[in-house]
Subunit: 576 residues, 2 copies
């Protein structure tokens, strides 16, 4: 029977609870958001002892289901003040699921301000002193954790940014090569972990067992069907494995929706130097890895390994949003500089999207000029130094905008808007505005229908139909984020009528349930509802489901469009 | 007939409108809040061109009514995001009223980013280039404005903090000695002025005329009656003229409600060194002025002039809240150091309350230790330098708390809680929570009944009756802030049944109206309602009418009380 670990950092104790069997299906975002909504006071300070940090694999975590290794991390966010679920790839979720752990709830705050780590094995769960790791980046942290562990482990850790409780701090999860490159980046979950005095979770990755499926043959059959669907789709079977997520750079730039220099234009003249095609060529020429799985059991394999000019490992292949954030949004067209920033973000424990957007805001304020790659790298080094400037940068775009007196600050509910300009991709604009998470492209990825012609076509430049589109996607996403499946499976789900039934069948066969597609979808809606209720009690209302005013006022070249989805339609997204 | 000046900083034009005669009685807060509520989009960026900065004397401004020289300044606040009215003493309001100016509305934003000043005379109102004043403190600014003016002027100006658009920037108004010591300090009105590119308003203080009263004999009779009432009351007739506002230091400390070291205790061991009694002795010993009127026509005369140890002018006598903020809240018991900080705040153009509270938060974060007076002064010098650290400090307590990762940040709606701990003065806690302005003691000064036995007695340590008390006071305050009368007249109004009728009679006699007391009070309620409606449309709801969680959780020594006024009672303050 699956376990829930209650880790009390005030008492320095770990208590094991059993997940009630009638809770199923639960996992991932359904688990984290449900727990946060039930147990965290909505008006508490996110860095105070009343907040809870929750980790959960999805309900398919640890099984052989393709791409089922996402780890959800939830809490009240210090960046947004809303509820937050941020999920990561890497091997952490599967390692937890194989130890029978459905969730970890980290509560309280350490009385002595010291750092500790949580070590998890097949029969054990204990806190260990870890103050000697203070100030270490995630790369050194993982190296030290490997030295003091016997056998294979997975690590979930924070860098100096999380220790400093900076609102843009994320949580790193190790990949197949034991590099801390997979991220629950958004919403400052790393700062919450820092406020709990928890430097890392070290998970035995050797002695666990695959969770038993109620009907293994049926599960295997459905899994195989799902894998076939993923392989057959042009995005998950070809584009992503070939070019990774950065295949989008040229596409979004062509669409005039590639936010450039702090959202002042929709096309970047330097895009070809930082595109997915250029990135692939560069990786291959330097002996890197152009197609790579971020966790065991991933069949899409969109991640990559990026080498420097000397052919030495530098970082994982930076994702589309990272390359946009540190690239076009800052007017930087130097792929190696962007990769160095990706490495710095991973090591310091920072969200790459928030960092790029924040540096873009700092550039708009004149702190450094647009296009200054070395200056941008210096700003990240300031974070490591913990200087006032570094702390401003590490606190995210909204805080930097306030401190530097900038008007055009691209955030919703305090979280930076990512790599798709909402004026030219209006469906994603609706998601940014109305998501329970603040601006978050992964909460309802309307780019699929607006730009990629996946799941139908909705004109990205017109307001019509965007609200209904976003609503459907937000519900589906809340469900997928609960299964533990990577959101990228949605491309297949949107186009292939066989894909979603395969998810339903995998769920039923694994858990011994008999849900239909409608019941499963209803769970997604229920997760969203619980999140919305938390946010309402935390003080968020319709006026917060809006984009910053400049998106409605300043036309975006080249299409010279503004964001014009009416407020009533935004309000109807989560309405009846 | 009174004029409204529309100053368009985008077009660099000044347009004169006539105040409709059926608008009366209007002035002060009723004018500024009404205009902001009607014309400013509630979701605009406070530093963007859509915000409007509004100046207005009260409807008794420029007359011989005692203490009627307050200048209201309104806008959407960059500190709180709410509507804001902040009012100041000094001679500015009377000078405007004597030129027949009922209000100034500054709109738009300069296309070229240059600084300008608005020069106002009996027949003229024009914008002048002022980029040569860039970076000057308020003291030097006023000196330069005097050099380039013929005859007596009053100045309304911003320092470097306002130019930098820092959220804690205030607006200075000159006093009788042409010193920029009177402040519309709270809520970042100086940043809004900076965003408009307006360095100063220079008002002819020589050629204006006293506004005609409809019935001058009746007005004079009522004014004399009102002056007698002010002289007869123990607070306005004795305590304030003798010791100034800092008479409160020992009183609040005795009450265990004097917030010490970032609100971690209610008594400060160093209080005697910074009390009103010590301040008076120090001022007298050094040849300063212990009793002084901040504007012509003030009969209370609570301001002072503070000399340094060499007998040279240093600053105005710092007010109670300033001495608390830079003193007890930072663990500093050095009156001269506090006076130097007051001078720095006035010169840089910063709100003293927000600055002290922010430095207290920085001390809680370990940036400098509690009690480090020279360190605190260095932090203010960082603001002048415009360094990242200075910008953090100048952005106020909430921003500093976020950047430095502090949990106990004493703010409501982003504005620092002033010098009365809400756990031990629960009535003022209700005002902090529910005011339309964020934490603001002047919005409903329940300290009167809770601590001073003025206007009755309500036990400060019990939750009972505080909500009703705060409600009544908030309505009365909105009215007084509209008349142009100094809020300190409320002490007399609360105790002397003759005082309020005198205000009614002055209003009617001056404006030729026939309102009764009830009708006038209804105007106060109407102002509050307009402000609340603006805030609602700006995204503020019941959840924002709360104190930070730690006030309900961490008992305050010595009484070991928490803030326990129930949420329902807070919600009922502005309810039906």
């Amino acid at each position: 029977m699956a376990k829930i670990l209650r880790v009390d950092m005030s008492e320095l104790s770990v208590t094991v609870q059993h997940l009630p069997s009638d809770a199923h299906p639960t996992g991932g975002r359904r688990f984290t958001s449900g727990l946060v909504a039930r147990e965290v006071p909505p008006l508490c300070h996110p860095l105070g002892p009343a907040n809870k940090l929750v980790f959960a694999p999805g309900w398919l975590g640890g099984t052989g289901a393709p791409c089922s290794g996402r780890l959800s991390v939830g809490a009240k966010s210090p960046l947004t003040g809303t509820i937050k679920e941020s999920n990561a790839g890497g091997n952490g979720a599967n390692a937890l699921a194989r130890l029978g752990i459905a969730g970890i709830v980290v509560e309280g705050a350490p009385p002595d301000g010291r750092l500790r780590l949580l070590r998890l094995g097949p029969e054990s769960a204990r806190l260990e002193e870890a103050d000697d790791l203070r100030g270490l980046g995630n790369y050194d942290t993982v190296a030290r954790l490997q030295e003091r562990s016997s056998g294979a482990i997975s690590c979930v850790s924070i860098g100096p940014a999380g220790e400093m409780k900076l609102a843009a701090a994320g949580i790193a999860v190790t990949d197949e090569e034991m590099r801390p490159t997979r991220y629950a980046g958004r919403g400052g979950m790393g700062a919450v972990m820092g406020s709990k005095g928890l430097k890392a979770i070290v998970v035995d990755n050797e002695h666990g067992e695959r969770p038993a499926s109620a009907n293994l043959p049926a599960f295997r059959e459905a899994s195989a069907r799902f894998a076939r669907s993923l392989r057959a789709h042009a995005v998950t079977g070809q584009a992503l494995p070939t070019y990774g997520t950065n295949v989008l750079a040229n596409i979004l730039n062509e669409a005039g929706a590639y936010p450039t220099r702090n959202f002042s234009a929709g096309q970047f003249e330097g895009v070809s130097a930082i595109s997915g095609e250029t990135q692939r060529d560069t990786i291959i020429a330097r002996g890197g890895v152009p197609t790579h799985a971020c966790h065991k059991g991933c069949t899409i394999r969109c991640s990559r390994i990026y080498h420097d000019a000397n052919g030495e490992y530098l970082t994982k292949g930076p994702e589309y949003e990272t390359i946009w954030a540190h690239g076009a949004d800052c007017g930087i067209d130097d792929l190696d500089a962007i990769a160095r920033m990706d490495r710095l973000d991973d090591d310091l424990g920072l969200d790459t999207i928030e960092m790029g957007a924040t540096i873009g805001v700092a550039m708009a304020a004149g702190v450094i000029p647009f296009g200054d790659a070395e200056g941008a790298i210096r700003l990240l080094e300031e974070v490591r130094a913990g200087s006032p400037l570094g702390r401003i940068i590490g606190s995210g775009a909204e805080a930097a905008g306030k401190v530097f007196g900038v008007v055009n600050v691209p955030v919703v509910k305090g979280q930076a808007i990512p790599a798709y300009d909402p004026r030219a991709v209006k469906g994603i604009g609706v998601t940014y505005a109305t998501s329970t998470m603040g601006a978050d492209h992964t909460a309802g990825y309307a780019v699929a229908q607006n730009i990629l012609s996946v799941g139908g076509e909705v004109d990205p430049l017109k307001p019509d139909g965007q609200a209904a589109l976003s609503r459907t996607l937000q519900i589906a996403t809340a469900l997928i984020d609960s299964t533990g499946l990577c959101l990228f499976v949605a491309f297949a789900v949107l186009d292939d009528p066989e894909a979603f039934p395969a998810i339903v069948d995998m769920t039923n066969a694994h858990l011994g349930l008999a849900l239909d597609a409608e019941a499963l979808t209803a769970l997604g809606a229920e997760v969203l509802r619980a999140e919305r209720e938390f946010n309402t009690r935390a003080g968020f209302g319709p006026q917060h489901d809006r984009l910053p005013a400049f998106f409605a006022e300043e036309p975006l070249p080249p299409h010279n469009v503004v964001f014009d989805v009416p407020a009533e339609e935004l309000d109807a997204v989560h309405g009846s």
